[in-house]
């Protein structure tokens, strides 16, 4: 019996017994068995998952910023409460995902530091500004929709803690999607000013949304291995198609257009055709050169630094290393 141990021996190619252990591991994973923190796993599996879950967690906490900034401006009680709850959920999801990542051997302090130093990445979409209330509606609907396509799939993945976190996340996302769609219906069927606002927002967000699921399979170096290890169950292109199939009809039904002249449904291939996003642009953005990238990092860094005295104070209080009480007044 051990206390929450982790087995890290012989987990790299070339280590004695690695090939055998790898074969047994892959057989289990293909069967649909889940991998738990105490299990042996290839070093690459561990590292890939750390990277992937870390990016996901970072995306939630950074995603809270463009929308959170609009809570003070939400125009009705219902929207104010719903947006506050939604952004709270995003922060809650970050919490669940950081915890899942920690089970693979990184401390949360390291995970936080890697984000604010710029070393770790987060989703392309959160490198952009939410300029108007309609931006919030588009983000709340279509970006959550794109994320749900990804998350619902990943929730069936092989790593236990990540799958469990994602199941909880998917349950909460149901309200996000409904709320986001509700906001978009209201604006798209509202006054001329509102309709113009949402069309303008969609025009600006379309390209980032099309890039959300990541480069096409030819470009994605991680996809093959992640799919073999059942971390990822659908390719980026497959996810993008799922998103378009479900949401393009809804977008068009609202009387909105998308700024891609090539976008059309190919009846024969049963697929949406679109202008291939500029993946070099995508790389530049996720590497920290998007319009809002510097602001996001500055905000996260400030929150972390300004909160340091709070975390240290409660650590000291918990350890009994408290500042002495002032001398009694009487």
């Amino acid at each position: 019996m051990v206390q929450m141990a982790r087995i890290e021996t012989g987990d790299r190619p070339g280590d004695p017994g690695y090939e055998e252990r790898l074969a047994a591991f892959e057989a289990r994973v293909v069967r649909g068995d889940k991998v738990e923190p105490g299990d042996w796993m290839p070093h690459d599996y561990r590292q890939q998952l750390i990277r992937l879950i870390h990016v996901h967690a970072n995306s939630e906490i950074c995603g809270a910023l463009p929308e959170g900034g609009w809570i003070p401006h939400a125009p009705t009680f219902q929207r104010k409460l719903a947006l506050c709850a939604k952004v709270q959920d995003e922060v809650g999801h970050a919490q669940l995902l950081y915890r899942a990542c920690e089970t693979l051997g990184k401390s949360r302090e390291e995970l936080v530091e890697d984000l604010i130093s710029g070393k770790a990445k987060y989703s392309n979409v959160f490198h952009y500004h939410a300029r108007t209330w309609a931006d919030v509606a588009i983000i709340a609907w279509l970006i959550d929709a794109a994320a749900i396509v990804n998350q619902a799939m990943m929730a069936e993945g092989s790593y236990g803690p990540y799958a469990r976190a994602l199941k909880r996340i998917c349950y909460e996302e149901a309200f996000h999607l409904t709320h986001g769609y509700d906001m978009c219906i209201t604006l798209a069927t509202g006054s001329p000013v509102q309709r113009e606002m949402i069309q303008d927002a969609l025009n600006r967000w379309w390209t980032p949304i099309m890039m959300f699921h990541g480069p096409g399979d030819r470009e994605s170096k991680h996809t093959a291995q992640l799919m073999r290890w059942r971390v990822k169950l659908k390719t980026n292109d497959e996810q993008r198609q799922m998103f378009l199939k479900k949401y393009m009809p809804k977008i068009l039904n609202l009387g909105l257009t998308v700024p891609d002249p090539q976008l059309r449904y190919d009846e024969q291939a049963r697929e949406w055709r679109y202008t291939e996003p500029d993946w070099e642009e995508f790389k530049r953005v996720v590497n920290g050169n998007g319009p809002a990238s510097a602001l996001r990092l500055r905000t996260r860094r400030m929150a972390h630094e300004e909160g340091r005295w709070v975390r240290e104070a409660l650590t000291a209080a918990a350890a009994g290393r408290t500042a002495p009480l002032p001398a009694a007044a009487n």
């Binding site: 906490i61 809270a64 910023l65 959170g68 809570i71 003070p72 401006h73 939400a74 125009p75 009705t76 009680f77 929207r79 104010k80 409460l81 506050c84 709850a85 952004v87 709270q88 995003e90 922060v91 809650g92 970050a94 919490q95 950081y98 209330w133 209201t186 509202g190 006054s191 000013v193 509102q194 905000t299 400030m302 929150a303 300004e306 909160g307 340091r308 005295w309 709070v310 975390r311 240290e312 104070a313 409660l314 000291a316 209080a317 918990a318 408290t322 500042a323 002495p324 009480l325 002032p326 007044a329």
Partner: protein, 264 residues
């Protein structure tokens, strides 16, 4: 000796009594809306993720309570909650200055929230016996949430007060800054006597004494002291507010005011 509870709105109230009830409701609603708005400004920016999540819930509680109080006003013939929140100017608001103070650092926000929640708990306890039944029912309904707010506040205040030299000094600065405004939560108004005679609520200064009994032990446990002999900051209950309320309302109302007739 409370008068018999008034079940239906408008049941046999004189103009003076009606004005007193409406004024009380606006004070309750405006306090909740404004402090809830301030708390919501921390979303995504808290010192640690778990703390962020907790404060966000508290913000939603306050904003939700505000909406409920505005609904009671709507039942008394005033416009609907969204109109009351998003179309009134600062001079029409009846919140105390404590609510609108900018959020400052975590020490300030936690201290302000604690002083406010202590006042709320004392006030809600009194309102549970309110002779206006809809308000009594609402006060009882929100009691559980307020109990959590007070628990949250006591926990944070005592631990930050006792943590490190830095946390103690920030907390004391926060108490010093917030306390005069907290006293303003109990600003006596011209309606006090009518409100007490109607059995709606005890007089403000009576509530303030009960509030002090809640707050002082917690501050003592935290190694903090309330500033002595300080003048309360009054004016909020009469519609006289510092500039930060106007700034807050401008931010809060700007999207709504793009088109107040539209559905948002």
């Amino acid at each position: 000796m409370n008068p018999a509870p008034t079940a239906s709105p408008n049941a046999a109230l004189s103009a003076e009594q009606s004005a007193a009830l409406v004024d009380l409701l606006f004070r309750l609603a405006d306090d909740e809306l404004v402090i809830g708005h301030r708390a919501s400004e921390w979303t995504g920016l808290g010192p640690i993720i778990e703390a962020d999540i907790a404060l966000s819930s508290m913000a939603q509680d306050e904003i939700g309570h505000a909406q409920a109080y505005y609904r009671l006003l709507h039942d008394l013939g005033r416009p609907d909650p969204d109109t009351l929140a998003f179309l009134r100017g600062p001079e029409e608001f009846r919140c105390a200055s404590l609510a609108a103070l900018p959020r400052g650092d975590w020490a300030f926000s936690i201290t302000r929230q604690f002083l406010y929640d202590a006042a709320e708990s004392v006030r809600l306890e009194a309102l549970a016996d309110c002779s206006y039944r809809p308000l009594a029912e609402l006060a009882r309904k929100v009691a559980g949430e307020e109990k959590y707010h007070l628990l949250h506040g006591r926990t944070w205040v005592t631990k930050l007060g006792r943590g490190t030299d830095e946390s103690r000094s920030r907390m004391q600065a926060a108490v010093d800054a917030a306390f005069p405004h907290a006293l303003g939560l109990f600003e006596p108004t011209k309606h006090d006597r009518t409100i007490a005679a109607m059995g709606l609520q005890p007089p403000e200064l009576a509530l303030r004494d009960r509030w002090a009994d809640v707050v002082e032990p917690v501050l003592a446990e935290a190694g903090l002291s309330a500033p002595a002999g300080v003048e309360p900051v009054y004016g909020g209950r009469a519609g006289r507010h510092p500039p930060e309320l106007a700034e807050l309302l401008e931010a809060m109302q700007k999207v709504y005011r793009i088109d107040p007739a539209a559905k948002w």
